[in-house]
Structure formats: structure tokens, C-alpha cells
Point group: D2
Chain length 340, copies 4
């Protein structure tokens, strides 16, 4: 951390500031330039409050050289984190050399729908089943998901197909219902629900953490850090599109965050092309672009009857479309040296 002081600061004020900072456990080097004094802080600067520093009357600028996250930082944990799941599929892993395909309907709607989709995506090569039981909907008058019953149906589909299941948690009190869920999804709208993140830090369940609609890369990593600070480092990050000024897609899929995240963190990174674009005909090209950009997986909506889907039908692939996509994904995975 570098602190540039304003011209005219007295020696006493500099020494006072250095003393205040060193109490916090960092070492401070002061360097007198010809126009201004610059302080360099060494040590664990995650404890320093940037805001308070900036409010100091003698501080001109505060520049963080080190990232504000530690546990999620690849600098301190160079090896890729790889999550392993019990499954009869060969590749129920996420991270490292694996390319994880998570597929299923937006919402769980019925036993019949879910099992049909699950069997179909498994046959096409998906390693995980997704499906929403608790649904965050913009309108209170929209279908809010089947709730506990949806969780039960997911667990049944898991038993029948052997696919690990991924579903969204919206509130801490729902946690006890998620015992048989393999990975808990935190939705984009909850990425900075810090109380939820803290609670998931105490859990041992893998967490699929979606990037918020207007979250920076650093904020996403700080959200992961909240979970990790609690003791749970089983986290998969997910790019799902950010808010933009145009409307030809629902959101802007920010694929450059993949190489950026792979550099900054050891956590796996996957992509949700369905929510990012909101349009099923774009899902294949964006899925291919995701693997080409270095993603560790994709999470894709598949529905056997999109026209009658209770949620997000416009963005769901038909099972045969998903099968075609998987055939191309395998070729891309070969080039990228990824195990599907």
C-alpha cells in the first residue's frame, strides 16, 4: 500500500500518521520526494481502513498494491483448487484439467419433467444436474418455485441418474433442507448478502458463487473471501453476465473475466451462457467461447418443453440442441486439454 501525502505536511503529522499505522502491525517506509512525501506500507495491509485514511487531512492518495483478499489469492495458493463430487460419472470434478458441464431446467416443475431432462442431459454428457426450487423472481406475482418439494424432486432425480445436484439457496433458514444437495448456488442478487456468505463459510458444502450484476472482479473475490474466511474453500465462481446499456442480450457476458480470474485466484471459474444472454440460440456460441476463453465449465438451461416452462423458457435449449452442443464442446475440450 502506497500513501502519497499532501504538500506542506509537517514532520510531526507524518510521524503521528506512521505511528497510527504501525500500531495496526504494518511497517511504514517514508520517502521524501522533492514535491511530496510518499509512505510505503509493508505487511498485512488487509487490516487497513482505506476510507479512514482517505479522510485524513494530510493524505492525498491511497493506492493498494496488494489485493485485499488472501485466501482466494493465487499468489498465496498457486495450485488450482479442484472440487470432487460423489458420482457415477467419470468427471464429477470442477477445476484443474476438468471441464464441468452442469445442465437442467431453470425451475423444477414436476417429477416427470425433471427426471426426463436429467436422463437426457446425462446421456449427452453433463456431469451435474441443475434445477431451481427456490426462485428469485423480479415480480412477487411470478411463480416462486416449488420450494421444499422441488428439493425433494432434485434428490429423487439424483438417485435415479447418479448426477450430483446444484440448486439455489435464497435464505439461511433454508440451509437444513440442502443436506442432500451437492453444491449450493448463491445467486447474483445475493453475491453481497454477507450474512448468507458467512453462514456458508461454516458449512462444508461446495458453493457456486455467481457474480453480481454490477460487481467488479475484486468484489466477486471478496465475496468468495467471506465464505473462505469462515473455513469453507470449496467455491466455484460463475460469470453470468453484467448489466449493460444495450438490450439485444439480457446481460453482457464478460468473458475476459475468465483469464483475469484464473490469474488472480486458484478457484475454478465457470460460465452461465443461458442467463447471460437470455436467448437459447446464443447459448451454443457463448458456451464454445467460454471454453475457448479458459473456463472450467458451463451451467446451461435445458428444458424438454420451453414453450410451457414456468420460468425463462426463452433461454432454454431443447435436449437435442444440448446434445449437439456437447458434441462440439468435446472437440474444443480436446484442443484445450480439458477432461469432460
Amino acid at each position: 500500500m502506497i500513501i502519497a501525502l499532501k504538500p506542506g505536511v509537517s514532520k510531526e503529522d507524518i510521524n503521528q500518521l506512521i505511528a497510527d499505522l504501525e500500531i495496526l502491525g504494518v511497517k511504514v517506509d517514508s520517502s521524501q520526494g522533492s514535491s511530496q512525501v510518499v509512505l510505503g506500507l509493508v505487511g498485512d495491509t488487509t487490516v487497513i481502513n482505506d476510507d479512514a485514511l482517505r479522510a485524513n487531512r494530510w493524505v492525498d492518495r491511497v493506492i493498494r498494491v496488494q489485493e485485499p483478499y488472501k485466501r482466494a489469492n493465487r499468489m498465496f495458493h498457486p495450485l488450482d483448487t479442484v472440487l470432487e463430487f460423489k458420482s457415477d460419472q467419470k468427471a464429477a470434478k470442477i477445476g484443474g484439467d476438468f471441464f464441468a458441464v452442469i445442465a437442467g431446467p431453470c425451475s423444477v416443475e414436476s417429477r416427470q419433467q425433471l427426471v426426463a431432462v436429467a436422463e437426457s442431459v446425462k446421456k449427452s454428457g453433463a456431469a451435474f444436474l441443475r434445477g431451481g426450487a427456490f426462485k428469485p423472481r423480479t415480480s412477487p406475482y411470478s411463480f416462486q418455485g416449488m420450494g421444499c418439494e422441488g428439493i425433494d424432486l432434485l434428490v429423487e432425480a439424483k438417485k435415479e441418474t447418479g448426477l450430483p445436484i446444484v440448486t439455489e439457496l435464497m435464505e439461511i433458514s433454508q440451509l437444513e433442507l440442502f443436506e442432500d444437495v451437492d453444491m449450493i448456488q448463491v445467486g447474483a442478487r445475493n453475491m453481497q448478502n454477507f450474512n448468507l456468505l458467512k453462514e456458508l463459510g461454516k458449512s462444508k458444502k461446495p458453493v457456486l458463487l455467481k457474480r453480481g450484476m454490477a460487481s467488479t472482479m475484486t468484489e466477486l473475490l471478496m465475496a468468495a473471501e467471506y465464505v473462505m474466511a469462515g473455513g469453507n474453500s470449496q467455491i466455484v465462481l460463475c460469470e453470468r453476465g453484467i448489466r449493460g446499456f444495450d438490450n439485444f442480450t439480457r446481460n453482457i457476458l464478460d468473458l475476459a473475466i475468465i483469464p483475469a480470474l484464473k490469474k488472480k485466484t486458484h478457484l475454478p471459474v465457470i460460465v452461465d451462457p443461458s442467463h447471460a444472454t437470455g436467448l437459447s440460440w446464443m447459448v451454443p456460441s457463448m458456451s464454445k467461447a467460454a471454453i475457448a476463453a479458459g473456463a472450467d465449465g458451463i451451467i446451461v438451461e435445458v428444458h424438454n418443453d420451453p414453450e410451457h416452462a414456468l420460468c425463462d423458457g426463452e433461454q432454454s435449449l431443447m435436449p437435442e440442441q444440448f446434445n449437439d452442443l456437447m458434441n462440439v464442446i468435446r472437440k474444443y475440450a480436446d484442443i484445450e486439454g480439458k477432461v469432460l
Copy 2:
């Protein structure tokens, strides 16, 4: 709601679609243009699932003519909602002809700090005291607020000054601690925490609902609709800046949403210039702009020692700066016919 169908749709398909829609309780007018068929829906279209419609193979475009919110809609409730609070201040009302000034420190830090600030802002003319006990912080390593103890100190400050108190709730389970809190703040990051909104709908407490960092006006109103659908219509909306591409301010203060909201809804609208800009020297000009734009109030951070604030010191006014601001605000309120 208007639905434009694709060219080439058969009479049978049109009739099927009309039948599917009329089951939901709306009336459908079909009109055959020379190039395409257009359906007009009349009745309560809030029950219609736009997504499913768009996924229909014969649907070209879906256009909502009516807003998707009812209870928050000024069309159905033309009169301004005015919230009243018990207070020894003359103007502890929000909405209508009142201009509500809510002031206090970002975080509650000590009894001494809070009471000193409370007395000072009251003297300057603030009608409400704000202060954070539970703080949503980007980093898990930052000060997270004093928690329950902070709430106790707020209640004490209320007793001493008579000012109604406003503080943020981060999680449903904290609700029982808020019995003596006068208005519950929902932070920007929780604007679409739908479970929290539903729970607040069952409460009788006034809710201060902050706009999310990337939320549209309609999404903000739908968040209010969630609370209102539960039976609680004591809601104050708050513009606090949205995310933008420049960084000379922390966020972009979108003041045009004030006249837009005043047209669309009967709920009061206030502005938070402190979080919007992140810079104390901008707070006076943005506060004046807020009242000029038609706001029903402001919520401002005031701290007696910003340099040592545990949170957001850079954006807090000193008590004397706040007092100067209030002197100008009174002149603006006179022009706008608002009671301070």
C-alpha cells in the same frame, strides 16, 4: 399487453394461444394487419409470464403497456403516501409536503459519539437519526458494525433526543432486535433479497428501501411491490447512486429518477448524497440538487471526527458543515413549498 405474432401463423395456432391466455383471466383482441397478427390483452396482465410467451414459437414480440406493479402504482393510488413518526420534532413525517432530513454517523461507534452527533444534527434541524449497527462491508476483514450493542445505543440516543431512528437490517433473524427502531433500512445490496422483502411485508415497521447499484426504476418498484404484497405499504424509496464507468465519484447519482418515480408511484422518494458521491465536499451541492429535483428528503452522514471514523470517513460532513447545509436547505424548501 400487446403480442405481435410471426408471419405465417395458422388460424388454429392463434386460437390456441388466445385460449391459453384467456384461461389466465385476461381478454384477448386479435387484429389482422396486412403483414402480421397483433393480439391486445386486456385485464390484469401481471399474471402473464412474459418469458414463456417469448419462448412460444409464434410470438415475435411482447410489449407491456401496463406497468407490472399495482400497489406501488400511482395510477391506482393517486394520493401521496405520507409516513408519520412519533417524535418531539414538528416534522417527523415523510412524503407529501414534508422534506425529511435524516442524519447521523455511518456506523454507531460509541455512546459518546452517537449522542454528540444526534444532539448536534437535531439542533441543526434534522428530524431523524441514522446510524449503522449491522454494516455490509465489502471485506470480511473490515469492521462489521457493533451489532446488537449498536442498536441499544441508537435506542438510547432516541430517548435522549426524541429523534426517531433509522438503521439497516441485514438478515431476517435480526428483526426481533428492531422493535424500538422506527424505520428499517434495506441496503442497496439487499434490494432484491426477496425473502427479506417478503418478511418485511409481514411487519408493520416503515421500510427505507435503497435502490440497488444496477437496478432499474421498475426493479426498485417491484422490490417495493414485494413488501406491499405482504401488507406493508409504509415504504420510502431511496436513490443512492448507481454504478458507472467513471470514478470521480463512488457512484452516479441519478437524480432524474426522482421526477420519474414521483410520476409512477405514490411512495416518498429520498436521496442519499453521501453514499452516492463518497465525498463529503460534494454532499451540499447534491443535497440542494435533490430538493430542487423534487425529493421528499435526504439521508446524510454526519460524524464529529471523520478522520477516525471506522467506516466511510471520507464522505461524512462535520456537524458545522451540516448546520451550514441545513441553512441553505431551508431556503430551497421555501421555494419548493416543502415543510422542513
Copy 3:
């Protein structure tokens, strides 16, 4: 300018880099912290190429402490720039204690229309007449303005009313037509048309420079610097809304840029509420917010028959609406100590 080097850099490499930088005329202080070396540059760093520096293999971070603009910088020119115009109006000045109101139709459409509007806005108190002769339209099939004929009509209206005229230049070759124009407008889409800016630098005409739709404050000031570097410092900056993710207004009016610009530069700053919002019923509240935020003026569209306007009718005020607005603006100007 501060340059933090990567760990492990050798003494020779540091010395080489310092030598390379000092050739450019700056002085370099090197300071060895315990973890990294930090260079502090003193002198005119506007000549330093940040990009090349960042590409250097030993450079970790480059931080500009000084602004990259000089002529537009208030630090070097603390006094407000005030532009004076020949006029029979008392207040044909922009900047300092003056509040300049520029009003008129979006496009010049006919002699009758223009003179009627000009006389009406003058009567209400506007000090300048605006009107587009060359129109930047998104579609090649839309009305592109009356061109030279429009300029002639503006000059006639100026003769009849005594109001100085402001109109947009779209291309260098049009410059000779602008001899009798009092202030040349550079539109948002041309803010970074650097060849146009250079040419205007050679002119002696005042320039009204509109902020680009996605321009940062620094980019706006660098555009002004282009004109000033050529020798012309008669510049008025104009906030006209930036692109955002919502669509209840055409653009987002970023009023916080007013105090920010007033701090950074000595140039006057005005606001265009008509283009910012695109909605005439929002123009009064945003005009009042502009003066409250510290603007030096507004530029407002007024049309005597908005329904038949060939351009932007939806955002034009009727003359009587403009007159009402002026009556309130005068009260605000009184409070702010501005001369109308």
C-alpha cells in the same frame, strides 16, 4: 507520478529506467522499501507515455498523481474563465457569477418558427439562442438539418432579437459558414474528434464542448485541452447525460460532475437537461437541480409546436412552460448568488 517496480529488479535495470525517464525532462526519486522499489517522478509528467511504462517488464504499477491536463487545470489558473458576448442583453456572459440560459428549437425549421421561438425565449429571459442547422442523426433517412440555410436563418434571428447564437459544427469544412455564429457547439459524438478539436484551437470562436456519451471527466478535460493547446481557451463544458442501463430517461444526467469539474477546472460548466432526459416534463426539475448543483447555465430546447417538430419534439418545452421555468430559475439564482 509514482511507479512501483516488481520485486527482484536489479540495480542496473532500475538505473536504466531512471535514465530513460530523466531524458524526458523529469526528475526521479528512487525509494527502496522492504518489499519493492518505488520511483517518484517530479516535473512535467504530461510527456510520459503511461502505456509504454506499463509494458516495461519491471514495472508493477503506474499511478498518476498529477492530472494529465495543464491549460484546463484550475491548479494553474485559479480564477474562473468568463466568456463575454456582444449582445443587447445584460447578461451575455458565461462563467463566474453569471447563470447563462441558452434556449431555442432542436432544429431550425423555418424563418417563422425560429424568429417566433427566439422572441419568446428572449422575453422569458434567455440570453442566447440555440438551434441546429447541421444535425447528427442516428439514421441516414432522418431529417439532417437545413444546413447553410439554417445558419442564415439563425443569423437573421440574431439580427432581429440581438441574442448571440449557438449552433453545432459537424465538420471542419463547415467552419467558414460559422463566421457570424457566436459560439460553436461540438456535439457529444464529436467530443473526441481530435482533428476537429485541433482546428477549433486555431479559431478564436468560443466553443461549447459537450461531454461524450461514455466519456470520463478526465477525457472531457483532455478534449478541452486539445482546443486550448491550439491557443483557444474560450471553452464552455456541457454535461448532457451519459449512457446507462435503464431507459426511463434517454441518458443519465450526471449532475455530480458539476462540482467535480468546478474543482478541477476554471472553465464554465453548463447542463443540457433536454438531451439528457429526452422528456420535456423532466426539464424543469433537472434545470433547477443543475443550478442547485452549481452549474453556470443551462441549454434548453423550446419549440412552439413540439408535435410537428422535425426532431426531438418529445423533449421540447412549449414557450409558456419555458417562461414558468425561468420564473423559478430566477429564485434559485438569487439563493446561489448568480446573475441571470
Copy 4:
């Protein structure tokens, strides 16, 4: 185009509006719903002025069903546009089954630099040489390009290597210098420089049109329509990143625009990963993502000495890095059935 009228409109007003519209050459169907009248317009609605319509006192909403562009519209020209260039390379085509690789330095700096880079990129498989002679720089104090001399050097490099050359035009008056240039680049900042676009419409030269930093897809296509309306349909569109709220990349690369554009227009679409990210280490992954997403080519910066580049060194690949990238691109092209 669909126009929904406000409730309460009289029969006379409806008939007047229909008459006004039919004068413009479109046919109007009126349909009386139970709550409002809806007009459907058939014919060439590109002549209709949406703004004027919206300003009409009886118009509630205006919805364009048809796109506002004709010549660029795939609906009317279903076959891909393919541009052919004279070259000794086998694949100097852009569009259709071809994948065009355009490479070279950001700025032309010297004969030696340019020829060395040109020969190297040719050897690696690039089919076009890029290089800037006129440079749009944010600061008037930065290197502004070699100008005419740079064009001369490009033409020499073309003679030596046989590669067609692409370079940026900043102003109409430069056009005569571009006689031997094979494709004229219009930079992002000039995408809505309508006078420049009109002039290029009269030229017969291929145009590389870059998307503006905050331009919608429709605005990009309307910019192409400006050129096409003048008679020149040799246009290549280029996605080069849009402005966003984060800063880990210079811009946000919006790859979803590729499938969207390929659906809407017959014009080829390429991607500039160098300017989009601003970071050379991201260029390979974003180049692969571009071809995976369906792009017709890439334009990449390559420099033999990025540390001493006079412009954008941080984003340039070294020749050997570019060679490695081409080896992977060939594999991707095979899967996608593209000819390199």
C-alpha cells in the same frame, strides 16, 4: 411499427393521425381493443420520425417491429457479404467461410519496425497488415502518429510482403492519401462521425467500421447504413470492447454481439482483442473465444519491441506469441469450418 394510442382519443383525431401517416407512404391498420386503439403500420417505416410521433398528444407508445436499417439488413440480403482483396496470400477475403487475421503494430514507427513486423506476421499466417499512421490519442501531448510518412511506410511494407494494408482515417481531407490503402479503418470515436461516413459512402474502398465505446448494436448497424446509403457496401464491422464499470480490462469485450450481428446483418464481423482488453496476455484467450463465438476474423496488435512502443505497448503481442496463437487458431478454424 405499432402505435398504441391513449384512452379517450376521438375518432377525428385517429383519422387525422392515420391521414398524416399515410401521406408518408405507409399503410395503417386501426384496431379497436376494449381499452385502447392500436395502429399497425405496414410498408417502409424507415421514413417515420419516432420522436415526432412520441410527442403527439394522443400517442401512448411507439414500437418498431422492423429494424430501422435496410441495406445492412440480412432479411433483405440473406447471403453473406464477402470482401476480396488483391494479395499473394491465398485467403485475403473477409466474410463467408473465411477467417481473416489482420496483424501489425499499433503505430507505424519506422521502416525497419514495420517491415520486420509485417514479414513476421505474414510468416505466422496473417493475411493483412495493420498499422496506425494517424492516431486518435486522448492527450494532445501524446505521439499523434507519423501521418503521411506512416502511410508511405505502410505502402512500402505492402510492396515487400504482398499483404493488403489496413489503417485508420481520422478526417475526410486525408482521404486522398489513402489511394493505396486496401481497407480504411473508422475508429470507435468516429463511428458516429456522420459526415465522415457519408464521404466514405461515395468511396469504393472497403471500410473497417469499429463499434463506438457506448454504441448499441442498432447504432453500429445504422452507422454502416450511412456508408451503404452512399453506395458503398464493402463494410466489415468490428467489436472492440465497450465501456464498463470495472477496470481489470480497458473495455468489456462483448462477444455476444457476434452471433447477434450475424443474425441481423450480412456484413462480416471481426474482433479486436488488443484494444478490448488492453493486456497482451489476454489476447490469445480472447482471440480463441472470438472464433468460437462465430467471428469472421481478428485484428491483433503485434510489436517486435513492446517496451519501446510509442503507443499501446502493454497490449501488443511479441511475434513469437502471435505465432503460437496462430497455431491454435488454425485448430479452432478447422472445427468451425473456416478457411484461414
